[in-house]
């Protein structure tokens, strides 16, 4: 067992032990914090599929996160107000069922990633960063100026959506749902990285012209990675909205995109559990420092600066040593 897998196992154990401990000592707030960490981790794992393997520095992932959030918000809003979502030759009703909401969020995230990817993958490098950022802002301004679903004020959902056989209003049960989804996506990510597609994508990041020479299309590989990534981040957005029972344009804000990227670098780039470690550290710092100082983001900034300038491996790197072959 390598040192990295020991670190991963320890993080995994923490994600089980902390909420169970909080349950035993009757601290529902800690469970909610852990749920927040798990959902943010899921969103960052989504980004990491594009960023870690494909090298796609997307600064617009808040778009997919927000689309997931609004998928939940809009469906649940129509269900709670008993108004149909769409009336025409056939009627589409809202829903409070999580599996359907997730499916819509995943499809919405994937579709948006496909369209944005088609346009932005025409460019590379710094152009790509700026264009993804601009597309994220496009969604942000659209939701602010579109009044049907709350505009700038956002949408409140009164009761958390339901999952068959569970009572999602109990914090630990909702946590369990999010945790299982995170595990499933991490497993998928690990498989993807070693699958022919993952290897080809990795090669497309390092030497695109050679990938092209053996008959693969690097742009298409990257587009598929972006679509998978958008789908996962969309799912996380739906869960995040469900956790807060509230969606607003802030989910689309570019700070959100930046934070997702921060999780990856704080945790360690090129590591399977990097985004998980980063999100956990972020929520912990937010809780601890946020209680001490109103200016805690400045401390986060200083920490981030130190990690970028001096500690290339991030949190996982500190404990697990040098990264395996990652350029």
């Amino acid at each position: 067992m390598s040192r990295e897998s020991i670190v991963n196992a320890a993080l995994f154990a923490l994600l089980i032990a902390v909420p169970l401990g909080a349950l035993a000592t009757d601290e529902p707030f800690i469970i909610t914090l852990a749920t927040r960490a798990v959902i943010l981790a899921l969103a960052a794992v989504g980004l990491n599929i594009a960023l870690g393997i494909g090298g796609l520095v997307s600064l617009g992932h808040a778009a997919y996160f927000g689309i997931g959030g609004y998928a939940m918000g809009i469906l649940a809003f129509h269900a709670q107000s008993y108004t149909p979502l769409f009336e025409g030759p056939f009627v589409i009703e809202g829903t409070k069922l999580m599996p359907i909401i997730w499916l819509v969020a995943i499809c919405g995230g994937a579709l948006a990633a496909f369209v944005i990817g088609l346009l932005s993958l025409r460019t590379t490098g710094v152009y790509f960063i700026m264009i993804t950022l601009a597309f994220g802002q496009m969604f942000y301004f659209f939701t602010i100026s579109w009044p049907a679903y709350g505009g700038e004020d956002g949408l409140s959902i009164y009761v958390r959506n339901s999952f068959p056989g569970l009572n999602t209003l109990v914090p630990i049960q909702f946590y369990a749902v999010c945790f299982v989804l995170l595990c499933a996506v991490l497993w998928f990510n690990a498989r993807l990285a070693r699958a022919p597609f993952g290897l080809a994508l990795n090669a497309a990041r390092q030497v695109p012209h050679r990938v092209e020479a053996i008959g693969l299309d690097p742009v298409r590989l990257k587009l598929v990675a972006l679509v998978i990534s958008g789908a996962v981040t969309g799912l996380a957005g739906a869960l995040f909205a469900d956790l807060n029972r509230f969606v607003s344009p802030t989910m689309f804000s570019w700070q959100m995109s930046g934070e997702l990227m921060v999780f990856i670098i704080l945790g360690g780039t090129g590591r399977l559990f990097g985004p998980v470690a980063g999100a956990m550290l972020f929520v912990l710092l937010e809780y601890l420092l946020g209680g001490i100082s109103d200016y805690w983001l400045a401390f986060l900034g200083a920490l981030l600066l130190l990690v970028v300038l001096y500690g290339r491996g991030g949190l996982v790197g500190i404990f697990a040593g040098k990264a395996r072959n990652h350029d």
Binding site: L119, I129, M138, A298, G301
Partner: protein, 306 residues
């Protein structure tokens, strides 16, 4: 739709565009010469605005406030370049994005710590307040017209500086081949600090000038930073001329779109629905413009390299 309104809106669009140019020029220079993507450029804009508000409150002079804004932004820019940014030139774009994102957090919270969370106000000097009557009997705010003139003067000055002066030649040479000009005896790291401080001073000046028509507050730099990104993507990264054309395009599209798109939709829709659709579309207009330019030319209008 009268011609008076049209002229007013075109002037507003020009004024907005030319202020965007002051931001975009610094960004595009820093990217062109050093290959650095700097998210913290918006913080320098904010620092300029706050410095101007502080100097204006202390001295009551608007000219001193502008000088203070440029000096403060240039100094902070040089300091940041010396301590942080120069470690990032050889890094990949991901590290640059994250480190400058960290700088935004530090600057925003630092400014909040010093000045508090409430917006400050910077008054337009009385000599420039009030409207001016343009030929054709159109009334337009004198200050906004001055902004256009200042911006155009700076654009011309910058073009001369880059194309005619010795330092400008060194900057252009640095864009093409940094090893070669270092071998020719130019102190490249001092040149980098200078370019960064110059970009910072322009951003600070823009912050101070715009701060007098909007409020001076934390986070004021980020929306305009993102617009400046759109500008340089449209214009082509590294090109000053591209930045100017891109700024004016974005400024005019945003301003005219906000006014005329809802009106245009009213021609064939109910007024309420037309306002909704039109204003939603107008808020996205510049991004649609950017997507259009990229489909046509992936490296921007004047961009040479990807």
């Amino acid at each position: 739709m009268t011609t008076v309104l049209l002229v007013e809106q075109i002037l507003n669009g020009l004024q907005f565009g030319i202020m965007l140019f002051l931001m975009a020029a610094g960004l595009t220079l820093v990217f062109g010469v050093m290959g650095l993507i700097n998210l913290a450029h918006g913080s320098l804009y904010m620092i300029g605005a706050f410095a101007a508000a502080a100097v204006a409150a202390a001295t009551g002079s608007f000219v001193l406030a502008l000088a203070g804004a440029m000096a403060a932004a240039a100094m902070v820019g040089a300091l940041v370049e010396y301590t942080v940014i120069r470690r990032l030139y050889a890094r990949d774009h991901l590290d640059q994005v994250l480190a400058t994102f960290a700088l935004i957090l530090i600057f925003s919270e630092g400014t909040r710590w010093i000045f508090g969370s409430f917006p400050l106000f910077l008054d337009i000097p009385s000599a420039l307040a009030g409207p001016i009557t343009l030929p054709g009997g159109i009334e337009y705010p004198r200050y906004r017209l001055v902004l256009i003139v200042i911006g155009l003067a700076i654009a011309a000055g910058l073009a001369l500086f880059i194309s005619r002066t010795r330092v400008g030649i060194q900057i252009r040479a640095g864009e093409n081949d940094r090893e070669m000009i270092a071998a020719l005896g130019v102190d490249i790291s001092r040149l980098y600090t200078l370019v960064f401080a110059l970009g910072a001073a322009l951003a600070g000046l823009a912050g101070a000038l715009v701060g007098a028509i909007q409020s001076v507050q934390i986070g004021m730099g980020e929306p305009i930073l993102i617009l400046a990104f759109v500008v340089i993507v449209i214009g082509g990264i590294g090109s000053i001329r591209g930045a100017l054309v891109g700024s004016l395009l974005v400024g005019l599209t945003d301003t005219l779109g906000g006014i005329f798109l809802p009106e245009a939709f009213k021609l064939f829709m109910e007024p309420a629905a037309a306002t909704t659709v039109g204003s939603s579309l107008a808020s996205m207009a510049i991004y649609i413009l950017m997507a259009g330019v990229l489909i046509w030319r992936p490296t921007g209008l004047f961009g040479a390299r990807a």
